[in-house]
């Protein structure tokens, strides 16, 4: 094993902030592991890393990592991160958020951060539910599913987070699952390296609340579900509509180059400096 435990510990507030708040079987720890292994592989300095989050289960992540960490208001992580990145463009700014945090209360900030193509790396941990408040339905709770606020089944259609980000102008969009942890680590690494707005949706398991309310079984059962339903994007594209059913694609969905926002602002500032010979 290339990454022994202690190497990961270097990136954690180990011994101080653990044990964490997450429930047994929660995927958040897997995602945390994938993020810090990606950072380790990239050789980023901890001092140059900022992790910004909003409110929710996933947003509790920053307290555990030994980066510059910012736990902000519900839905607003991207706006705070935009301020950090504008002032310190040289920093690697990572936003960890959930489905409710990023697409409901924070939907406006998500589409506009994507539109600007500001160089933020956004990890959306999609567990299809508001876990922190005890299991209310989110914009990604599947239609027909149960939550504490959909006692008769959910009639809301769902957001496709990746399509939403792509439509808003994100230049790097990917989806993977907590089961495909090696792929997750590799995609997160590429997302960090991408100059521009990158977003990685990680389908995750909330067995204690969402799983229980919807009879999805225990954590391993929910992981098996990810294994079966998440199809590599190339293979997914070849599926007929009948074959698609409840399957979804995984892998890098968008990877294009466009001018990055803070770089463009620096150019604008440079253009305003008095030229040589000007009075």
């Amino acid at each position: 094993m290339k990454i022994p435990q202690k190497r990961v510990h270097k990136f954690l507030r180990h011994g101080k902030k653990f044990p964490h708040v997450w429930c047994p079987g929660c995927s958040n720890g897997i995602v945390l592991g994938a993020i810090i292994r990606a950072v380790d592989e990239l050789g980023y300095e901890k001092d140059d890393m900022a992790m910004v989050s909003g409110i929710g289960c996933s947003s509790r992540m920053p307290v555990y990592v030994d980066f510059n960490t910012l736990h902000t208001l519900h839905g607003r992580a991207l706006a705070y991160a935009t301020g950090v990145k504008m002032v310190k463009p040289e920093m690697n700014v990572c936003v960890v958020t959930g489905d409710g945090d990023s697409t409901a209360i924070g939907g406006n900030h998500l589409i506009h951060a994507a539109r600007r193509n500001i160089d933020l790396t956004v990890i959306v941990i999609n567990n299809n539910i508001y876990g922190m408040t005890g299991g209310q339905y989110s914009p990604t709770t599947p239609t027909g599913d149960f939550a504490t606020t959909t006692p008769y089944g959910n009639i809301d259609p769902v957001f496709d987070i990746c399509k939403l980000a792509e439509g808003a102008g994100a230049t790097f969009v990917a989806r993977t699952t907590a089961y495909h942890v090696v792929e997750a680590q590799s995609i997160i690494k590429q997302a960090f390296e991408h100059k521009g707005f990158s977003i990685v949706e990680i389908v995750s398991a909330c067995p204690v609340i969402y799983g229980k309310l919807n009879k999805k079984g225990d954590a391993p059962a929910m992981m098996r579900d990810m294994k079966e339903r998440a199809i590599p994007v190339k293979a997914f594209e070849k599926l007929t509509p009948e074959q698609v059913g409840n399957k979804y694609s995984r892998g890098i969905l968008v990877n294009i180059k466009k001018p990055e926002y803070t770089a463009e602002y620096t150019k604008l500032m440079d253009s305003l400096q008095p030229q040589k010979g000007d009075k």
């Binding site: 900022a50 208001l73 705070y80 991160a81």
Partner: protein, 383 residues
């Protein structure tokens, strides 16, 4: 830098003065959203900041604007946003976040008529209480309110300085008339030594505490990306910044938020006392209304009537002790305001143990209170 002999007199609008003051104070990041009647502050800073090494961004709404400046401030910038009525309401959660995380920032609120969308192009003074109590939870406030273009410039600098010094969100009030009126002002020369810069910590990172344990002292503060890797949260936190549920630690934090204001009242409070020494009748007014009040007092004094004016430049913390001292011989106080008794209520609370009679003049129809309105009230009171 202009020579001292050559007067640097310019015709300037109140909102422009706020923007110019921000630049003079070293503001280098502004995030905002268009709203009448504050938009000129953003427009001018969008021109000036990138020329002066600063950055401007127009965000998607006011919530994003306050969030972006707090992020920018934590990353080490001096920051400001400007808004009005509805936008100010939207910013309240962020203002609370800036206060609990002790992050310096300035929010300019150019007051317009309310409630709701109200009278966007008319002046008002009805956000006085919102600046103090608008955000949920107890969160002591520093709020300044000028009454001229020159003072808009000066208090803009002071607002930035106080935000940096006390590590909090300072609110700079203005109103539609003050923001849009133009006056010839002589721009004061900037004394660099009066521009407050954050004190940087020199402790090893592992000893660094983001929040001071003694509320009397303003502690050194690190920015994101300087090697200190601290944690910031809107949850109640310990002195390192990590969340806590412990009653003793919660008490320490809330105590500090309160005491860093109450221990520095002398530094925070500014008032104007005009002919108050022998006054039997006082006019208590702030902002644009105090211009009319002063005119009325001047006219009364010409008739040898013992009338004075008391004006808070610092609205919060409310200048309680100064008012009690200055109003010892006052028999009646006229309180003109473009609101339904917001200043009046506070003044009544402060003077509750006196026999002073209160005479409110309140307008919320978008029109200003005139010197004649106040002179008329003085006449009534003298009867």
């Amino acid at each position: 830098m202009a020579k001292k002999s050559k007067k640097n007199i310019v015709l300037m609008q109140g909102n422009e003065a706020i923007a110019r003051g921000a630049i003079a104070a070293g503001v280098n990041f502004f995030a905002g959203y268009p709203i009448t009647p504050s938009t000129e502050v953003a427009e001018i800073l969008s021109i000036e900041l990138p020329k002066n090494g600063g950055k401007f961004i127009q965000m998607e709404d006011e919530i994003a604007s306050i969030s972006a400046i707090i992020g920018g401030s934590l990353a080490g910038a001096k920051v400001m946003t400007a808004t009005s009525g509805p936008g100010f309401s939207l910013m309240q959660e962020g203002i609370g976040y800036a206060k609990i995380t002790e992050t310096p920032c300035v929010v300019v609120n150019v007051m317009r008529g309310g409630p709701s969308t109200g009278l966007p192009t008319k002046p008002s003074q009805s956000d006085i209480m919102q600046t103090r109590w608008g955000s949920h939870g107890d969160s002591p406030a520093i709020v300044l309110y000028p009454n001229s273009v020159l003072e808009s410039y000066e208090l803009s600098i002071r607002a930035v300085n106080l935000a940096e010094k006390y590590r909090t969100c300072v609110i700079l009030l203005s109103d539609e008339v003050l923001g849009h009126m133009r006056e010839a002002i002589e721009i004061p020369e900037i004394d660099e030594s009066k521009i407050i810069k954050r004190i940087k910590p020199n402790t090893p990172p592992e000893w660094y505490k983001h929040y001071p344990e003694n509320p009397k002292y303003i502690s050194p503060v690190a920015s994101i990306g300087e090697g200190y890797r601290f944690h910031v949260t809107g949850l109640t936190h310990d002195s390192f910044g990590f969340p806590t549920n412990r009653a003793d630690e919660a008490e320490i934090m809330n105590d500090r938020l309160k005491k860093k204001i109450t221990h520095h009242l002398d530094d925070l409070i500014q008032v104007e006392d005009y002919m108050m020494d022998d006054a039997k009748i006082a006019v208590f007014a702030a902002g644009i209304t105090s211009r009319a009040a002063k005119e009325a007092v001047r006219n009364s004094r010409a008739k040898r009537h013992k009338v004075g004016m008391f004006r808070p430049l610092t609205i919060w913390p409310f200048p309680e002790q100064m008012i009690r001292d200055k109003f010892k011989d006052v028999k009646a106080v006229i309180v003109p305001e473009l609101a339904e008794g917001q200043l009046l209520g506070e003044l009544k609370r402060v003077l509750r143990k006196t026999n002073i009679k209160f005479y409110p003049i309140q307008k919320t129809n978008g029109e200003l209170i005139t010197p004649d309105d106040i002179s008329e009230a003085i006449k009534e009171v003298r009867k």
